[in-house]
Amino acid sequence: MSDERDLVLRAEHIRVEYAAARPTRAVRDVTLELRRGEVLGIAGESGCGKSTLAYALTRMLKPPARQTGGTITFFPASGAPVNLLDLAGDALREFRWNKISMVFQSAMNALNPVTSLDRQFDDIFEAHRPQLDRAARRRRAGELLDMVGIDPARIRGFPHELSGGMRQRVMIAMALALEPEVVIMDEPTTALDVVVQREILDEIERLREELGFSVIFITHDLSLLLEVSDRLMVMYAGEVVEQAPAELVGSAPAHPYTFGLLRSFPDMRGARRELRGVPGNPPDLRNAFQGCSFDPRCEFRFAPCTSIAPVLLTAAGRTEASSRPAATGRAAQGWRVACHLHDPALRPAGPPGVLRGAAQDEVTVGTDSAGGDA
């Protein structure tokens, strides 16, 4: 769909099931593209399949989880594209951490408590860089700690001697140890305080500017994601319901669920406004959905929602022409949403004002009409 030259990862039609008498279909046909140097944010509440998707992208699913469909292609900076699903054994081990690394949720607890940091760095280098001798390994580990703002003298220390934020920095240093092209971060700052969280985010952004890796950033905290990512995917019940430039979606969500999530965050600085969350509970992922998975919780539901499953369409009122170009110069992708409100065939009048990006339309009066896209 877009130019392959700046793509680093493409996953198409990913499906993951957790095996059981009635399998849980945690990821249902998710397609994503990650461009070189960009931060792709994935948002959604717990159980929406976002972590499972991350594990699928790194081929780390363990039974009972099983990928039941889809392809994952990695485009290295040099060399031919790699089909991740073809990798096995040593080839897969060689690929992980070298090309794609991951910072886990509760990474604070992912360090081995009874082993010093230098031993843990050694493990990485012995497995992936056997040519490095002891002195070189030590030097590189020191560099990495220094890079994430930790005194290299700490290298002989143990995890319990570090604060939560420092442990998180060590995890990030480890993820970057082999200079991967893609780093997947699953809730990297969730267990941390706002101030420490801010420091870690600043650190990630600085390192990304220096080293140029791409990031898939997964969190339930949409307000944070709007700030750190270039593009945003919102997941609900194992599916992508909206895909949008992060800079714009905060003020003009297209999907009712995104709208609800945004409304769940009180604005600290602006005027006080009415606060509602998204009433109801997410659906049971063991079930097949008739129609839209969000239908029971949706305040904008109408007749087709109960019977027809929505697919990703270009969002009404947000063709590429009407959205402002991204300030960073990274090409903005089309704004897509899986909602019948945006389907001109089912809803000729177009979506209600709040989902149409009314504020934007007012700025660009006459240049764009709702529902005028393919």
Partner: protein, 341 residues
């Protein structure tokens, strides 16, 4: 009028082979009927210790607690009565409900104890259903017979709230009541607490690390740093015009989805420059003398080596900081941190 008054509360813990750790240092506050006071701070600042001491779940090193004007009962029947009046909602609804018991059991027990075993049979069932109804768990007859594992996190927290209401308390201490819950349901729980507070004229302490919800759901905010309240005042004042450097850092650290990319990048560079100016060692240091925040403070000065004064920086708005000392000296000398009780 104030329902619960806590005066000069100090809680210190012994540490193996070291000095005592003062988790809460000379803290005073009062809760008024129908109002929420928010207690904000990072983890380890002593927020939960304040809750536990106020609920008399731990014994403070010093300090007085008065409930409805009378000294709080400390043991026996008087303590039981105090606990009926002052209820706690804990952070983790997965841990605070017994997995072996039904929702009915969780709610019936406090009702039985409260009524001295008088409320029984159909009347007890009805009281359980009324409680479930009041926290919007419907249909109550069905929910009552479920076990905790059959409920979502939000539903469990509603059960925990219903249980807290079972003794018809005057004071509710909510310790991070939504931080374990999904973002999409946090607001529902907070809105529920807010409505219950109004309907039942509860005095509420809302403990949180989230400045934004503190602003929305409380009339007054106290910001705590390492056991000490460094700033307090009307919530909009504290959040929109923070005066203590720590509150300023907290407020600026919160994500701001409305900011432009350029503004974000500029702010990031400013923070990085400021951080580089201080060494990592200094940030980690723990100080017992003087201002506890000075090792992290971007505006630290020599005076900070002495314990800072509480200065009125606005109407009912106090900050514990040397920065405002000169203005205060002229305007209102020796303002006490306790405020009007």
């Amino acid at each position: 009028m104030s329902v619960l008054e806590v005066a000069n509360l100090t809680v210190a813990f012994g540490q193996r082979g070291g000095a005592r750790l003062t988790a809460v240092d000379d803290l005073s506050f009062s809760l008024r009927a129908g109002q929420t006071l928010a207690l904000v701070g990072e983890s380890g600042s002593g927020k939960s210790t304040v809750v536990r001491a106020a609920a008399q779940l731990l014994k403070p090193s010093s300090g007085q607690i008065r409930l409805n004007g009378k000294p709080a009962g400390r043991r026996g029947r008087a303590l039981r009565s105090y606990r009926h009046q002052v209820q706690v909602i804990f952070q983790d609804p997965f841990a605070s409900l017994n997995p072996m018991h039904t929702v009915r059991h969780h709610l019936a027990r406090p009702l039985l104890l409260r009524s001295g075993q008088q409320q029984r049979g159909a009347a007890l069932d009805q009281a359980v259903y009324d409680l479930l109804q009041s926290v919007n768990l419907t249909p109550p007859q069905e929910v009552a017979d479920k076990h905790p594992h059959e409920l979502s996190g939000g539903q469990r927290q509603r059960v925990a709230i219903a249980r807290a209401l079972a003794t018809d308390p005057d004071v509710l201490l909510a310790d991070e009541p939504v931080s374990m819950l999904d973002v999409s349901i946090r607001l529902e729980i907070l809105n529920l607490l807010d409505r219950l507070k109004q309907d039942r004229n509860l005095a509420m302490l809302y403990v949180t690390h989230d400045l934004a919800t503190a602003r929305y759901f409380s009339s007054e905010i106290m910001v705590m740093y390492r056991g000490v309240v460094v700033e307090r005042g009307p919530s909009d004042e504290v959040i929109l015009n923070p005066t203590h450097p720590y509150t300023q850092i907290l407020a600026s650290a919160a994500p701001d989805p409305a900011a432009s990319r350029q503004a974000l990048a500029d702010a990031r560079r400013r923070r990085q420059a400021a951080r580089a100016a201080r060494t990592a060692e200094a940030r980690e240091a723990t100080l017992d003398q003087g201002c506890r925040f000075r090792s992290r403070c971007p505006r630290a000065m020599p005076a900070c080596a002495d314990t800072p004064p509480s200065v009125e920086t606005g109407p009912d708005h106090h900050a514990l900081c040397w920065l405002y000392e000169s203005q205060a000296g002229a305007a209102s000398p020796a303002q006490s941190a306790t405020g009007g009780g």
